[in-house]
Amino acid sequence: MKIILENATLFTGEKKDIYIEDGKFCDVFDKKDADKTYDISGKTVFPGLVDMHCHLREPGFEYRETILTGSMSAAKGGYTSICPMPNTDPVCDNAAVVSGILKKAKEAGYARVYPIGACSKDLDGKLLSEIGLMKEAGIVAVSDDGKPIATAELLRKVLEYSSDFDIPVLDHCEEKTLSDGCMNEGEVSTCLGLRGIPTAAEDIAIARDIIMAEYLNIPIHLCHVSTKSGVRMVRDAKARGVKVTCETCPHYFTLTDDSCENYDSNFKMHPPLRTKEHVEAIIEGLKDGTIDAIATDHAPHHEDEKCVEFQIANNGIVGFETAFALGYTYLVKPGHITAQRLAELMCYNPSNILKLGRGGLNVGDDADLAVFDLENEFIFDKNKMLTKGRNTPYDGFKLYGETILTIMGGKVTYEKLC
């Protein structure tokens, strides 16, 4: 299969034609030999995006999403590599489940799927899972995501044991004894009569994780950071040389807790949407390098789990198909960061943290790329998503950065029909 992308502009500003053969970027060949030629003048090429934090729901929750629909959704968002969290049923805490996920992912063929294994067996926060055997089967990291690593003692053991296998540890930072609520604690939660979750619940867990990583001198990665103090602690820790990295999600730099005022559960997630002050701190952290990555935390739910009273609705929103456009519209367009920085946040850094080796655009590299329209505004329509989930807060948003084409390993995985 030979593909040519004519009149391409790279995210760096470089202009050239891109040649792809047998799944790799290649040298110039005769245009007559191309199986497919795309003229992408006016559009921008990024390396295929890498999502280090998503939920594909399979096995166990196929009514919410499958590896196939999740991968197709990812491709539509410009992703070529995605890392599903282990909170499936059965939990991804052993090699057999890892192998099953990889088999399904290969059959689907819409994205490179790199599973994340559970730190603890059955995610119960007690016993270590078989991290070594899972690594042999193909995991790229461990996490108890959805839950924090339960105790400081378990955190220590997970960090130590995982480091023997050079497996990164990703922690969902939440002090459970403080987080019995359903939205951010503040004026808005008080006004709505909803139980609040204080930012302190996240900050205490971040502090714990940094202290342990520093004490052991072992890397740790913090999931979906949403608070001002969290960003400050990571910044300070990095300055001291602590091996800490972190991610945030598009909703933490685009939305505030005011959005919950109509009790719409599409604004309910964990950690919860914070106030403007925290949104600004997240943007600052993305600008100055404190925050390493933008992940989606793509979390599809069935309508029946969302169209209920706010307090009992499931946490989480879908994210693959809006993440890039939100990053471009809210970060690059207003001048907070450059397109190159966005590529670092959404491809190179997550690839490096998980040692995936993705993002190359040179001859001989796997041909993973995404083409976006950065010039024209589009209206995001939730009913046109490829994910099974419809739980997005962004329906009707006017955004820039619509995906035009996604290629993974030389295969076209998404193509906008004009």
Partner: protein
């Protein structure tokens, strides 16, 4: 005039003019209520359903009597003994009631925002009879009516509310509503029961009970749920009543003859000693009567709006 919205979800959604119209209408309704013949025909040929997911004595009975005095067909559904117990979702239950040509659904629910969630899906008008910790609009309206009737106005009046502020939907509705009518609301309770940013509702957070009730025209106690001491929100009933209760000495700091109020049910000896509950200044029992009048007014005005459309 009349009400702007199909539903009565909270004081947040009402303007000062709408609140005053409800209070004025309640005056008329109270005359009906206290006359020998309590029958009116305002709701004749109409249906009113009470849907209660939480226990209630006053609110439920006063809504039920209000609708019956006005001639409606009415019925009750509780969470226990209905399909709710079989796991039917709130929306399905509400739609089922709606499809029986129901005009008004009065709902109490333990989750904040539950009536806001169902209302847009229904043809019936939804009246919030208390949603979680959010609002209890008809309680606040009857509290405001009581002050309005006794003192002639809420403009410039000082109202103190003491107790478990965090969990109280009565406080939220009263703070919002009374402020809209020009009253100054002071609140006080243990810090463990004081929500972040409550000042945003327009009230002042006092330093202690004395500071809260000083020179007030009305003093309101709130029920503290005794089981909350097991969650370390307060250590004991003895300590709560000593530092946070409204004692006769504290009541003396208010204006002479200040109204003593309580939404009920009251834990005697905890938030109020029985001597205070029964004192001459107490309007607690009259609040109950006013509750029926205010609920008649609300049902009347909502139905008048429905009849116009």
């Amino acid at each position: 005039m009349g009400l702007r919205n199909k539903d009565l979800l909270g004081l947040k959604q009402l303007t000062a003019e709408e609140i005053m119209e409800i209070l004025e209408t309640a005056k008329t309704m109270k005359m009906v209520l206290t006359s020998g013949n309590k029958k009116t025909s305002h709701l004749q040929g109409k249906s009113v359903i009470t849907l209660f997911y939480e226990n209630s004595t006053r609110t439920r009975l006063s809504f039920e009597l209000a609708s019956k005095y006005m001639g409606s067909a009415s019925a009750n559904i509780s969470a226990t003994g209905s399909s709710v117990a079989k796991g039917e979702s709130l929306l399905d239950t509400a739609r089922t009631i709606d499809m029986m040509a129901t005009d008004i659904i009065i709902m109490r629910h333990s989750h904040s925002g539950a009536p806001h969630f169902i209302a847009p899906h229904l043809n019936a008008s939804v009246v919030n009879a208390g949603d979680g910790m959010n609002e209890h609009p008809t309680q606040a309206l009857l509290d405001m009516f009581t002050i309005y009737e006794k003192l002639g106005t809420l403009e410039g009046k000082k109202v103190a509310i003491c107790g478990d502020i965090y969990h109280s939907r009565v406080v939220r509705s009263n703070a919002i509503g009374m402020t809209k009518l020009g009253a100054q609301v002071s609140i006080y309770g243990p810090k463990t029961m004081m929500p972040v940013g409550i000042e945003k509702l327009g009230c002042r957070v006092a330093d202690n009970v004395a500071d809260c009730v000083k020179d007030c025209d009305a003093v309101m106690g709130l029920r503290v749920q005794l089981e909350r001491q097991h969650k370390s929100l307060f250590p004991s009933v003895a300590e709560y009543s000593k530092f946070y209760g409204i004692s006769p000495e504290m009541l003396e700091l208010a204006k002479p003859g200040a109204l003593l109020m309580h939404p009920g049910p009251c834990n005697h000896g905890v938030e109020l000693p029985t001597a205070v509950y029964d004192c001459d200044q107490s309007v607690i029992n009259e609040q109950v009567t006013n509750g029926v009048a205010v609920r008649m007014a609300v049902l009347y005005l909502l139905m008048a709006r429905r009849n116009q459309i």
